[in-house]
Symmetry: C2
Subunit: 637 residues, 2 copies
């Protein structure tokens, strides 16, 4: 009985896994990538962040079926003084149709009365931009649609296409060679031979690899001859990302696998303290993981699930996420009608040990809100609404663990948030940033309510001319607060490329069509401050009441020609190819409770803000001042 290898080791499962992981560490290489059609990308994993090429909607468009009108021409219409609009003064539109100048509002079909000869009667004036979805409302050109390392879902496919993306770079599938060994093996369906064993394990392994997202290649069975086994292993390890070799792992006369692996590379573990599955081999050949899977079917199954699936997952990245139901505290009051069951998209985060659900935009057109959502809060039909602070059921479509390492950011929008969201998990594994854009004041409100970890703000105190600190002191009296300094940024007027209307300063805004930011946005505070300084009456600016929610939405409105000017940051202008007239520098910082500074995700954020890679990307974008980024200012309010 010479040549037998009677004694296997008996290493505990976790230790075996650790040894295998450590041994594989130096052989890690960047994932192979391929570019594929978006429509084929379901369940594939992005290799880089994907940014929108187009706005969605592409143009200002009707949000309802009805007629497009000139809002100015509807002034005075009321129940007592109905107004007849002549054919030509309006345009019938269906939902999604473009609304072009001179039209700037939509009146719903239900509110119209036919007056013959193609005329209609209206009984209410239309306010500017009512029932109009502004260009880029859902997706703004240049905005990040998906981060890198993201497993593409059905809804992501819709959003990518809407954002003008038809091809996407994804990780190549991990290729896995499966080698059955044994002289006695017969293929299923072969004529029966005395002493033969039907080879079925490799087919089970093939199915398991496929289920795990890998690309299995089952090779022909190899007879129990040392050189044959060795050469097959050598070839497989050079051609595939991973190798499973079936049977030949125990201590029998013809069990050559371990010896061959030792000759070709390193046997990390041979024999694990598990039953069934003990004689598993964990090895490395040419830097590739090779797993010797025992021959008994139950052992093979458990050895694969314990070690093979883990190795495949490590090589392929991305994790499977199912839907799950969790209880979370609602951060904002939700009102709903008794007329329907409502599905409200929410962001979910762990703040102060509690799961907090924050409602997102409720428009049906907001496809990006589906991509951003962590789950749904369902408001049943017999419920009129839910108060803030109530515990609700959330149908979660992300991993709970993931959420616990997610920084919840609510506040002012800046392109650097996309940048941080993409870079953070690359440098600090599993740490994510989830951003909701509601303006600076909205962010501080969320911070007060314990709904956010950080609030990105840029709020000028008009009295002192100082940014952020005065407001914090006013809103958080007696509390220990902090500001993490972001890169200071340049604000200015965004105008069409070439500046055809010759806009030079804020004073010129009175003679063009302006698009403003929403109330509470720092950019709007800055505008008001500057207007007051220069004695300009906001009422003199056409479009002062027209609101867009982000810098990019302002830029999109200007680029599409539906407005002539708007205020925003240089990086938004650059991203959309617009001209930029500087108005001033401002401090864009992250406000938070001082106690949060010690948490791991926040420490990662601070490190990220100081990271050379981040600084380099800022340089490329332009308009940011790197000095001081990531510095912490503690504030006793």
């Amino acid at each position: 009985m010479s040549g037998r290898n009677l004694y296997l080791s008996n290493i505990p499962v976790e230790e075996a896994l650790d040894r295998f992981r450590c041994a594989l560490e130096p052989h890690k290489r960047p994932p192979r990538a391929e570019e594929i059609a978006v429509i084929d990308a379901l369940d594939r994993i992005t290799v880089a962040a994907v940014f929108a090429r187009d706005n969605s909607p592409l143009y200002d468009s009707a949000a309802m079926d009805g007629i497009a009108v000139k809002s100015a021409a509807t002034h005075g219409a009321s129940e007592t003084t109905p107004l007849t609009l002549q054919h030509g003064d309006f345009l019938p539109v269906d939902t999604g149709d473009t609304v072009r100048p001179p039209f700037d509002a939509v009146i719903m079909a239900e509110e119209l009365q036919e007056a013959g000869e193609g005329n209609v009667i209206i009984r209410q004036a239309a306010s500017p931009w009512q029932h109009v979805r502004p260009v880029g409302e859902d997706i703004v050109q240049g905005e990040m649609l998906l981060p890198s390392g993201h497993k593409v879902r059905a809804i992501d496919i819709g959003v990518l296409l809407s954002g003008g993306i038809t091809r996407v770079a994804v990780r190549s599938r991990t290729t896995v060679a499966i080698i059955p060994t044994g002289t006695e093996l017969m293929e299923p369906g072969d004529a029966r031979k005395e002493g033969g064993i039907i080879e079925s394990n490799s087919r089970m392994l093939e199915a398991l690899v496929r289920q795990g997202g890998g690309a299995p290649a089952r090779l022909a069975p190899v007879a129990d001859e040392y050189e044959l086994i060795r050469e097959t292993l050598r070839d497989a390890a050079s051609q595939f990302d991973m190798v499973l070799i079936s049977a030949g792992t125990s201590a029998g006369r013809e069990d050559y696998t371990a010896a061959a692996l030792r000759e070709l590379g390193e046997v990390v573990v041979h024999g694990v303290a598990m039953k069934p599955g003990k004689p598993v081999i964990l090895a490395i050949v040419s830097g590739k993981p090779v797993i010797g899977v025992p021959g008994y079917p139950v052992s093979a199954y458990l050895a694969y699930e314990t070690f093979g699936a883990v190795a495949l997952q490590a090589l392929s990245g991305g994790s499977e996420v199912g839907m799950s139901l969790v209880r979370a505290t609602l951060s904002r009051r939700l009102v709903s009608s008794l007329k329907h069951r409502e599905y409200v998209r929410v962001k979910v985060g762990t703040v102060g040990g509690r799961l907090i659900a924050t409602p997102l935009a409720r428009g049906a057109g907001a496809a990006m809100s589906l991509v951003r959502a962590d789950g749904f809060c369902v408001i049943e039909q017999d419920c009129e609404g839910i108060e803030a602070g109530t515990e609700v059921d959330i149908l979660l479509c992300r991993d709970l663990e993931d959420l616990e390492r997610t920084i919840v950011s609510i506040g002012s929008h800046d392109l650097i948030l996309d940048l941080i969201a993409d870079e953070l998990p690359k440098h600090f594994p599993n740490t994510r940033l989830s951003g909701t854009h509601v303006g600076s004041m909205g962010g501080l409100m969320a911070l007060q309510n314990g709904e956010a970890h950080i609030a990105p703000i840029h709020l000028l105190d008009e009295a002192s001319g100082i940014y952020n600190t005065p407001l914090l002191k006013k809103l958080f009296p007696g509390r220990q607060m902090a500001l993490i300094k972001g890169p200071a940024r340049e604000q200015g007027i965004l105008v069409q490329a070439g500046n055809p209307l010759g806009i030079k300063s804020l004073a010129d805004l009175t003679r063009v069509r302006y698009v403003n930011r929403q109330r509470g946005a720092g950019t709007r505070v800055l505008l008001d401050y500057k207007l007051k300084e220069q004695g300009i009456d906001p009422a003199a600016i056409r479009g002062y009441e027209r609101e867009a929610a982000t810098h990019m939405a302002v830029a999109a409105a200007v680029q599409s020609g539906s407005a002539d000017a708007g205020m925003g940051i240089l990086s938004a202008a650059s991203a959309m190819g617009l001209d930029f007239i500087p108005v001033g520098k401002e401090e864009y910082d992250f406000a938070l409770l001082a106690e949060s500074l010690e948490t791991e995700p926040i420490r990662a954020l601070i490190a990220m803000l100081k990271h050379p890679v981040f600084h380099q990307k800022l340089e490329e974008m332009g308009g940011y001042q790197i000095v001081g980024s990531g510095e912490v200012v503690r504030i006793d309010c």
Copy 2:
């Protein structure tokens, strides 16, 4: 604004679903089937029960690496009287190698000492059949491998191939046509046109259908022209199993979908009380479900998930089952070694409101135990064992709801259990039978411990000559019990086809190689009773100590020639083409607590035992007496 369809209904979600289900009910048809290679069958759903064509192992085979010996020739070997086996008196074998007569036992390599000239020294006698896996130990020819309506998993592929099955009949994938509509639609990547909208919803729907196991076919976008839409719908409904038509569902001027559907078939619901998603249309054309999916992406997503996914599931059958962790009470003591972490396969059932986990066979070779298992109980390495009655974590691989409607049967084996397991869910939706075969006495024990709902038994009381009732009275004193009568069955001696050894009665067993059933099996009790009656000494029967666990395992041993005779039922003989010498009729009944009679699954079992389809299958198998099957006998013990 004529032709508008301003008013949609506002039906609650559940009611809309119910209406749609009811309207589809009369159009139900048997699923289309196709035969495919087993290796391609992952996640596909069987249309019929699949029965093993081969035994596994195919022959008696070595369970260890070592030598095959004649057990009789090892008598007397001990530490003090070692025995030298000459070359030729033994055969070196590896695990899986065939063990052929005259060899009938295996000695492990670790226990051998080389003696030169090819001889070996042994220090312990080998008992007959030690370390030999009998033919059919894992899978017995004719045994049911998978029931109908089963979603094929990776482990099932292994078992099917091991059982000699290379092709399997599965349901054809449900085909789903996806029709985008809208004159304004542009294909992603097309040159931008004024007022155009990038068509992306159909691609999201395509991915969702694919995730649900359907076969999507996305058709070319159709312009907003009534006749075009109607004809496209008509063709799609005739060619596909299901149709999704995107947009054109609200009340706009050009929303022709509802009108076209009304002309072609029936609009069951138009307008559901959900938000987003309200304008969804649920219709039937040519008996096929047609869903009008709203145009806004979020509405489209929710409408599909709420109605489309349900319809697809109803057409495709089979439900997705993930792994989940549950707490269950262990029904038997589990001993494990400190040497390893052990994965014990368990059956799980709800008995008396408690989840009960019953350990299955622990052999690594028992692939069928993987198929039969409902989950795993993991015994950590630092644990020596777990007492019966302890609550343990079970990694469940089946649906909990499923388990609640599963009858847990522990006791004697009969082929009719396979038959019931296959037919039950066809006639009583979601009701299943899960059988563990441990013999009649083992079954009554399980019933006493609250681990089983029913115990199939055939136990002869030697004193009275009466079946089952006397034993129940003895084992369950003072309790209200019941017997559900099974079909009476014929027991006899199984011999090779043509009866080459001329066996005529039990007396002939003393001159052939016999294979017995395990202690506690009703068949063994019957044998002992008959032997005593006829004054035959069991010690005179060679192989009386050799045990097989089921009728089919006995039949497999006889068919393969490793035994000449065994006792069992006629149907087992027929299934394996063996001859059968009748010994007597016996009563095979289902024992249970009287209180269980009122539960729904047990009522379904009783109805099944009386069902004409069941009786017809019994006739085909032969050897059963149908009269009285399903009758209930209440017993006050």
